[in-house]
Amino acid sequence: MAHLSENDDIFDSIIMADDRFHVEGYREGFEEGVRQGSIEGRNHGRLHGAKLGAEVSFYNGFALTWKCLLQNSTDVKARKRLKAVESLIGVIQNFPYEDPQYENLQEDMERVRAKFRQVCSLLNVPTDFKEYVSGTSGMSF
């Protein structure tokens, strides 16, 4: 190895010191960033998960109840309603809405909402439900 002159040594140690301070700061900052990011990310996630989970679970409870209420009925209208309700239940059961990494989260959500609206109109559900639906349909990820 070539012998470094004294001048080179000095410049090298200056540059290395420069890097060293930068790296030290970076390391500490990274730790702090991970800490902050973990808290922020989790809080954001909790709110989103709760909103989505609440909406789908609401539809689920609603549909399951109507299934119970309709299934002993024999008239044509009731059977048609029951079919729509069972369809909604089916869509929800196949929807892993608790999995944030599910790739079709948005599409399936729209599908569930559309099915719910269809069920509501078949059931002649009073308009105050529409508030709920329109309130949550503006939700974005």
Partner: protein
């Protein structure tokens, strides 16, 4: 004595040198501190980016699992109310159903509001957290701030926990999300609902769905 003269004058020279050196030291210190700060800023950004998504996914599951039971009850109550508006309009039973639905809605809204408040608040600074931790027992300083809850909570088998992990740095009101006191309220609401279903003589299968909310 020329050396004496040179010593005398060399003090002045020394002073200049000392000033010069101390100025250079200050400059060096300033520059190195700046380098550290630059690195710190870059590090924070990188650290946040590296942790945000994983934390979001974890929180998402927690948020969803903590609310599905009360939300499902809300759906059930809403459907019952629709039915009552058609089959038993203007009756005390309908009023009771409406009352219960409103209680359920309030319960759910409170849960969501807790989460919204937590989301809007910036994360506590490191010094704040260190202070918080110092108020707790001394031995905990070196432990992780958050601990993982090991029970499942989701299937309703363990009612005291919803899988929500408690962080010392988070507000105490965060503890109420999915905590046992709220589970108690869910049980109360569930009971009133079952009583109404009995009173209205609705199908037994419906009671099954209602009971399942708390794993009964």
């Amino acid at each position: 004595m020329s050396w004496l003269r040179s010593v005398a004058s060399s003090e002045e020279v020394f002073d200049e040198d000392v000033d010069d050196i101390s100025l250079q030291n200050k400059e060096w210190k300033y520059n190195m501190e700046k380098r550290t700060q630059d690195g710190f800023r870059e590090g924070i950004e990188a650290g946040k980016e590296a942790s945000l998504q994983v934390a979001f996914n974890r929180g998402y599951r927690e948020g969803a699992s903590g609310i599905i039971r009360i939300a499902q009850l809300k759906g059930i109550m809403s459907a019952i109310r629709c039915w009552c508006q058609v089959h038993v309009p203007g009756t005390p039973a309908l009023s009771s159903v409406t009352d219960l639905l409103q209680r359920v809605e309030r319960h759910e809204d409170e849960l969501v509001e807790t989460l919204r408040r937590a989301q809007q608040r910036p994360p506590p600074s490191l010094t704040e957290m260190v202070d918080d931790m110092e108020e707790l027992s001394v031995g905990q300083k070196s432990q992780d701030i958050e601990s993982r809850c090991t029970c499942s909570g989701k299937d309703g088998a363990n009612e005291d926990c919803s899988g929500i992990v408690r962080s010392k740095g988070e507000d105490s009101e965060m503890h109420s999300y999915g905590s046992s006191s709220k589970i108690e309220t869910l049980k109360e609401l569930q009971k009133v609902c079952l009583d109404l279903v009995t009173e209205l003589e609705l199908p037994d299968e419906l009671k099954l769905h209602i009971r399942q909310l708390t794993g009964c």
